[in-house]
Symmetry: C2
Subunit: 208 residues, 2 copies
Amino acid sequence: MSEVETLAPFDPGEAVGKRERAKAANRAAILDAARRVFGQLGYEATSVRDIIRGTDLASGTFYNYFKSKEEVFEALQDDGARRFRPILRAQAEAAETVEDYVGAAICAYFEFLAAEHAAGSSLSHGPTHDDTPEMRAVFEEVRGAIAAIIASGRAPQIDAEYFAAAAIGLSREVGQRMIRRTPCDIEGAAAFCANLILDGLNGLPNSK
Amino acid sequence: MSEVETLAPFDPGEAVGKRERAKAANRAAILDAARRVFGQLGYEATSVRDIIRGTDLASGTFYNYFKSKEEVFEALQDDGARRFRPILRAQAEAAETVEDYVGAAICAYFEFLAAEHAAGSSLSHGPTHDDTPEMRAVFEEVRGAIAAIIASGRAPQIDAEYFAAAAIGLSREVGQRMIRRTPCDIEGAAAFCANLILDGLNGLPNSK
DNA sequence: CGGTGAAGTTGACGGCCCGTCATGATCGCG
DNA sequence: CGCGATCATGACGGGCCGTCAACTTCACCG
């Protein structure tokens, strides 16, 4: 068939070769199916074949893109982390004080979490692996932001690694509970966490 | 062979039928092998056959005791939780104030964690499932203790569920880091967590 | 005691999933 | 065009899965 391409050989922006596009599409198709199937069958129960059956690809093709279902899951998780990191970064740059940063970062996290949850993200059904590159990057982002604030003298000289770990672990766990509650009060949960981290137990307002 | 049993038909304490003893021994052998193999091959990589090969039992026997390797792992985790719960309970009973309880509980947890780690517990290599009965019981233990203290007016009326989740998540994450550090400063890490929870960021001493 | 039935173990079996690979189709490029 | 590189395909051997019929061992009773 005569292509329009002859009249538009240049595709402004990104559209590169057909080959490359197919690759990206296949990878996306696998990730998409994985998201769906993980959510449907649960992480443990899904097999590589289940995932590939969710696409129109052959079983062998899977292994051109991923080594195992574990790797697919990590890719999904990394995807989330990669999308969240810039948000976190923006909070760090906008924040003047530790209080600002902690409050904003947790609020951003909870909003992100709620959005992912609403979108039916299957990530809650699998084993959260913290040792993937993007997850480490998120941790480092937080640790770095805290360390920077400490270095500028706007916070006490505490152990930044422990503090980051504490804030993340705390937010994670409370976030899980928040999502399970209906209605899901993002503001309330974020305020709870921020107050606890900044002023401790005695800084928490008397509520509920 | 003439049995001594005829002279000692009563076994003071526990020694019941041979059958029952064998069952317990088999179950223990499987759990033992699982602990070993999980630690050696990693959770994902180990198969039911790997576990059973670590015993002198036949493959079919495994399924008389557990449904899958997931169930074995949960049993191991539950075992840890079951051993830790009384410790936690003791702290709750001994504690006069929230400050006491939070400090003592975290310290106890970190000591438990360090001991398990030193004993080569394979639990760090698997997916921590919070929805097992014993794990829920541990959470409820903490939530209950906090709620009791609140009810007695010795703590502000905060959301006990969120607070328990926060304390647990925080301790878990910091505990992971603590174990990775050498030397492993249990006291220091526990103090960090307790101070953070009780007085917040500004209550933390300037250290490190 | 010896016999009997329940309880539990064994390992072989069919079925499924794994990861690989030879084959063939498709694309980019000279 | 035509050639080489790239990649999809699905069949294949191997391994693990969970089951099950046969067998062994134990507890109980007459």
